[in-house]
Each structure stands twice: as C-alpha cells, then as structure tokens.
C-alpha cells in the first residue's frame, strides 16, 4: 500500500522546494511540528467518524451471519467466519455468478462512461477556451445537468425512455421510422445503453468544469511561442493543451472512475429496486443483496471485496500514471 503514497500528483514538487520547510528550524520547534496536525485535525476527526470507523464496523459485519434474525442486536449475531465470502465468490452458484456478472457489467459501464465523460468534458472545455458569441451562455448551460437534483434529472430520463409514451421512441420509431416495433429501453439488453446515456449526461459537466479550471493554468506565452513557430490551432491543442492537462486528467479520470463505479443513485432511480440484468451495477446489486434480502453479512462481504478491488485498481493506476509523469518530466 505504501507505493500509492507516491501518488500525489504534485508530491515531488512539494519535496523539491518547500521554502517554509527550510525556515522551520528557526521557529519554535514544538509549535512548528504541531501546526500541520492541528490543521488536519478537523478533517481527521470527521473522516474517522463518518468513514473509517463505520467501514471497520462494516468489515466486522462481513464476518457475521447478519440476517433478519439478528439485525436487532447485531453484536450477538453468530460469527460465520469466511462463509459470507465463500458464498459471494462461489462463481458456480447463482449468487456468485450474479455478482461476477454484475461486476463485469460495472467494469464495462464504468470504462465507457468515464471515457465519454472525459471526452465530452475536455472537448467542450477546449472549444470554449476562446471567446466567441454565446460562450458564457453555453458555459452556464453545460453546467445545468450538474445543477439539477439527481432524482429530478434521472426520473426525467426514465420518463423519456418509456417504450410506449417516451420521447426517445417517439423520435426513433415514430418520426425516423427505425425498427419494426418500438424498442424497450428500461428493461432487457438496451437498459445498459440507457444507463450509459444518463450517466454521461449527468457526469460530463464535472469533467468539463475540472478541465476548464485546468486550462487556466496553461500560460498564454506557450501558445504565443507555438503560434510564432507556425503551429495551427489543432497542433496547439495536441502539443500544448492536452499535455498540460496531464496532471488534471490523472485526478479527473480517477475520481470519475471511483464515482461511476460506486454510483448508486442513477441506476436506483432509473430502474427501481430490481435493475435489468444488463444494467445491474454492483452498488445496486449489493444494495439488493443486503437491504432487499435482509442479509447484511453477505452484503458487507460483497462490499469489502469491491473495496479491495478498487484499492488495487487505484494503487496500480496511481503507480503507473505517476511513473509516467516522472519520466516525462525529465
């Protein structure tokens, strides 16, 4: 795990030059040491209260037989060893099979959703970098999906994706004449694409916002120098804009990945308590395994497995991207 610590995008820079540090010994030593901890204290306490302690409790739960018979006093629920885990990863039995399928679906979904969010966000930010008429309006407009309450936005999409009365089929089938009969979007195999569309619609403005902020840090003279060298707009984007966004992207892609992977609100509002198999995302799947079937032990075990997976992926990702960064910096 310690490798991930290299992770921080700008950590090397911090270590390279921290003038404050150099002056440190001249100040009163003890206070100097205490200050950063004091600054961190509120954050630390909150994280402990809301994230870390509950998570540890969750891990403890995953080793218990926490079914409806014991939830009233879960301290007294019998220990079940690794039973919850063996049920979850027995891929020959339906529970494990369903979990694996849901996991793979989520992977594919996350990959596509993050990719599209990043692409739309970056492209829109670059296109809006220069001033033209209507730029301010578009910039605000593009943030609307982000500003709408998730429930309101997603329920509207569900409304639009209805087979018989929805706008999507009205356009595709009635107006454009695609297909013999109107397609289903909220059940069956198409549900995957429905989820993807909604997730991208909701998610890309965040990428847009972040990249827009990242673009502000690119110094103007770099473009001027490139223009003097005769580089056109496309070339400037490829050789200046995109490389300069590297560190922003490193963060952006990772958080988009984590949020999309753990997203619960979108599928829950879109499909209700039982998502179609094609769009059965892992978070909803675990929710169903714990709340709908009242088996919080197995649900917790699945969550812990998910957590381990995300830790590994994030670790590897940070390791790879940081190494990439270092070599490119040289």
């Amino acid at each position: 795990m310690t490798e991930t610590a290299v992770a921080h995008p700008t950590e090397p820079a911090v270590r390279k030059a921290t003038p404050g540090e150099a002056r440190a010994p001249r100040r009163s030593g003890r206070r100097r040491i205490a200050l950063p901890y004091l600054l961190l204290l509120p954050a630390l306490l909150l994280e402990l209260l809301v994230h870390l302690v509950p998570m540890l409790m969750g891990i403890v739960m995953s080793f218990k037989e926490l079914t409806q018979f014991y939830i009233r006093n879960w301290g007294e629920a019998p220990w079940s060893g690794l039973d919850n885990y063996t049920v979850a990863i027995d891929f020959d039995a339906p529970v494990g099979q369903a979990l694996l399928k849901s996991f793979l679906t989520t992977c594919l979904f996350t990959l596509l959703s993050v990719g599209l969010c990043w692409f739309l966000g970056t492209a829109a930010a670059i296109f809006l970098q220069e001033n033209f008429r209507g730029r301010g309006f578009l910039r605000t407009l593009f943030l609307v999906p982000y500003a709408l309450p998730v429930y309101a936005a997603v329920i509207t999409w569900a409304f639009m994706f209805q087979r018989d009365n929805g706008l999507i089929n009205h356009v595709l089938h009635d107006q454009l004449g695609i297909g013999d009969s109107p397609a289903f979007w909220l059940i069956g195999d198409n549900a995957f694409y429905t989820l993807l569309v909604v997730s991208v619609w909701k998610g890309w403005p965040f990428a847009f916002l972040t990249v827009m902020a990242g673009l502000q840090n690119i110094p103007r003279d770099m473009y001027e120098a490139a223009a003097l060298d005769g580089a056109g707009v496309w070339k400037q984007i490829r050789h200046i804009t995109l490389p300069s966004l590297r560190s922003v992207n490193q963060v952006l892609v990772l958080v988009l990945f984590l949020w999309t992977f753990n997203d619960f609100n979108t599928p829950f509002v879109l499909f209700g308590k039982a998502a179609p198999e094609s769009a059965d995302l892992i978070s909803l799947h675990i929710y169903q395994s714990s709340f709908q079937t009242w088996n919080f032990g197995t649900g917790s075990a699945m969550s812990v497995l998910l957590l381990l997976f995300l830790l590994v992926v994030t670790g590897v990702y940070l390791l790879l991207t940081s190494r990439g960064r270092k070599t490119s910096d040289v």
Binding site: R31, Q68, F69, W74, Q162, R163, I187, Q292, T293
Partner: protein, 434 residues
C-alpha cells in the same frame, strides 16, 4: 508566535462550531407517557392528503386520552428501509403501519411487539377481526406481529364502453372467458388486459394466486422455498402467456412499474385490469366512476372459493407496535382507538378500502357494489401470501424472475416451460439457505 496561537484558536473554534451545529433538535421515539410517534404508510393520493385524513383522528385521540401523537407519513419507497434501520438501532416509532405481507419477515426480527392474549384483550380481542385479515399477521401458530388496519383484495376492473363496443355482454368470470374477451378487445392498438410487468410485488400477488389455482404453494409446509413445482411453473407461465401466447397484453406493459396500466385503462387503451381498489387513480386520470365496472377476479372454472378457487391474495395494511416503545400502555390505547368501529369506518371510507373489523364492515359506506366485491372476496376466496420469515426475499427473487420473463416475452423471445423453470430454479437458489 501570536499568529500560531491565533491559528490554534481558529482551529479550535472551528471544531467547536461543529459541535455546536451538532447540538440542534432532532427527535426520536418518545419517552414521555404523553406522546407517541406513529409512522403511517402512504394510502391516499399524496402524503399531504394522508396527513389531512389522519390528523383530525389523531387530534380526536389526544382529546380523549391526553396523548399527543406525532405523525409521520412515509412513502412506500422508504418505509421498509426505515423500519429496518429502526430495528437495527432500536430507535424507531412507537406504532407503525406495515404492508401485511411483511408481517412474518418483520416478526422474525423480533422488533415488533407480539400480540399475546393480554395485548389482544386490551384492544377488544381477536374476534373483532375478519379471519382472512388475521391470516396475514405473522407465522401461523405464533403470536401475531401486528393487527389488521385496512383490507383490500384484487378484483377485475373493466371498461364498460369498450366491453359494449366489442360485444361482450357480461364480465368474464373464468380465465378462458378473460382470454376470449381479451382477444375481442385486442384490436386497433388496444389491448385486452393490463399488467405491471416490472412491479415486483404486483407480479408476486398475481402468480401467487395463479399458483393456488394450480394447487401450488411457493413454500412447503415447513417453510422451505419450493418455486419449481409443476404447479408454480405452470402458474408463472400462464401469467406470462397472457402476453407471450394469448397476446391480450400489450408488450409495453413489460416495463410498467408505476401504475401505467391504470392510466392505459383510464384512457380506454386496455379493457381490463386486475387491481386492488384503483378508483381514486381512475378519477385522477380523468375516468369517472360510471365508466368502469368491477367483477370478482377470474378463477379456472366455477365460482371463487378456497384452494384452487382462490382469486386474490389478502392485501392490506397492518398496525404494529414497536417493541422498544417506552409507552406501551399509550400504544395499546392508540391501536384500540384505530381499530374501533368509528375510526375503522372513517379511515377505510377515506382510503377506499374495507375494514378488517367485522362490526365496522356492516356500515352502509361499504355496501357500494365495487366494495362488496372486495368484501366478498376477502370473506370467501382470498388467501394470505406465505407467512414465512423469507417472504420479503421471495418477493424480490421471484418478482424479479417474472419481470425478466416478461422482458423476454416482450422482446419476442420464446417463453417455454423450461425457460420458466430455469428462471425459478435460479431464484430459488438465491434464497437464504436453511
């Protein structure tokens, strides 16, 4: 140096600010004998209407007993989760409404007060209630986990004008007649009968009744899941076949989960629908009470009755007392009040349901033809869903299986006995091992 101290003060102030905000109001289960917290389910057309219906009754209770009842109406989407978290933490209301099909599941958690002889005596005794409603209050042989509050049953609702246009003289009473009528109705983009293919509970209610008609229960006598018996498979297949084979259900119904089948009905797009007390919805969708008729839900042949002649599940809402209540006496008084004749008549009238209390049923308000059908069904031909602790899981896994089968049928994929059996097999394996 002073600045460092300032910084420390700043941080400390900030942390204090947190504690300060965390010191506000909030509320929990009432500990004083003069108050009660009551979680009501959403029975009316909106949460606000529920409050308007219930609040005067609660005020009346306060006048009579001096006990103030804090009311919270909880949407169905949240109710079960709220009950579960209340159970886990021990912090909940004093009295709460539960869907009657949850009775056995919630009973097994031990969170609800068992209605032993003494407690039942305090509210006027078991005999006040209709038998079928009592059959849905917990595992048979155990002390009930709740008492019935409102009762409902399924009936067949039909569009009078569409029946007339199609030349159907009288409402169907058997499944064959339903199919025959459905075929006459299914033309010009209209459909015979509506279903809610993506609504898990509704799917369960329908296949449970069909299962009874095929002589199948979804649980064995000792409470083990038994989803793959020939009868159960036939029941599920018969339900799906309304769409897949008989084609009297429009394929679009496969994705319905929010009562769209009722709006279709109100818009003269489907001729029939099997439902529990939908009259409020019909009128809010612009269909007047003269435009629809009601008949007992269909049976395979003959008249509705018990066993294979069952034509509805016992639907309804139960009233339960949370075991952790610090005001048991007040809670019992409240339950007694809510199940009194007067309140039963007032509340069931407001919600269009039938009182599960015998003496209240006799009131003229429930002599309306649409309600007598339901009253008779409850009295003679309704059966309680399996009263086993795993009922809630059963609804999820089998309800989902039916939903997926409807999706297959709607997409034009063949639904065979084998494919139905495979889906049910998978559902059964997802049930907790015993």
């Amino acid at each position: 140096m002073r600045r460092v101290r300032a910084a420390v003060t700043g941080v400390v102030t900030l942390s204090l600010a947190f504690t300060a905000t965390a010191c506000g109001g909030g509320e929990g289960s009432s500990s004083s004998p003069k108050t009660l917290t009551y979680w009501a389910s959403n029975q009316g057309a909106s949460l606000e209407i529920d409050k308007k219906v219930l609040q005067p009754e609660l005020d009346q209770f306060e006048k009579e007993t001096g006990i103030k009842v804090k009311l919270e109406v909880i949407p169905w989407s949240d109710l079960l989760n709220r009950i579960l978290t209340a159970t886990t933490s021990g912090q909940g209301p004093d009295i709460l409404n539960i869907g009657n099909t949850w009775s056995a599941s919630l009973q097994s958690t031990g969170a609800l007060l068992p209605w032993d002889a003494k407690n039942l005596e305090a509210i006027g005794g078991k005999d006040r209630f209709v038998d079928s409603a009592l059959g849905s209050t917990g595992v048979p042989g155990k002390e009930p986990a709740a008492v019935p509050l409102y009762s409902m049953a399924y009936a067949l609702y039909y569009n009078k004008q569409m029946f007339k246009d199609a030349g159907i003289a009288k409402p169907p009473t058997t499944w064959d007649e339903v199919i025959a009528a459905g075929k006459k109705l299914s033309k010009d983009g209209k459909a015979g009968i509506g279903v809610e293919g993506s609504n898990l509970s509704n799917n369960i209610h329908q296949v449970f009744v069909l299962g009874k008609q095929h002589g199948a229960d979804f649980f064995t006598a000792d409470g083990k899941p038994d989803f793959t018996s020939d009868g159960a498979v036939a029941a599920v297949k018969q339900y799906i076949d309304l769409m897949a084979v008989q084609k009297i259900v429009a394929p679009g119904n496969a994705e319905y989960a929010q009562n769209q089948s009722l709006s279709d009905f109100a818009k003269n797009k489907t001729g029939m629908v099997l439902w529990q007390t939908p009259s409020q919805t019909f009128s809010s969708q612009g269909m007047g009470p003269d435009e629809w008729g009601v008949a007992p839900a269909p049976v395979p042949s003959g008249k509705p009755g018990q066993g294979a002649q069952t034509n509805s599940m016992v639907a309804g809402i139960n009233l339960a007392v949370f075991k952790n209540t610090k005001n048991l006496d007040g809670a019992l008084k409240f339950v007694k009040y809510m199940t009194s004749d007067e309140e039963q008549i007032a509340l069931n009238k407001a919600y269009g349901s039938v009182p599960p209390v015998k003496s209240a049923q006799k009131d003229a308000a429930f002599a309306d033809p649409s309600l007598t059908v339901i009253r008779d069904t409850l009295a003679t031909s309704a059966a309680a869903l399996p009263q086993v602790p795993e009922e809630s899981q059963f609804e999820t896994v089998v309800g989902t299986a039916v939903k997926e089968l409807f999706a297959d049928a709607a997409a034009g994929r063949p639904v065979t006995t084998e494919s139905v059996k495979a889906k049910l097999e998978k559902a059964q394996q997802q049930m907790p091992k015993k």
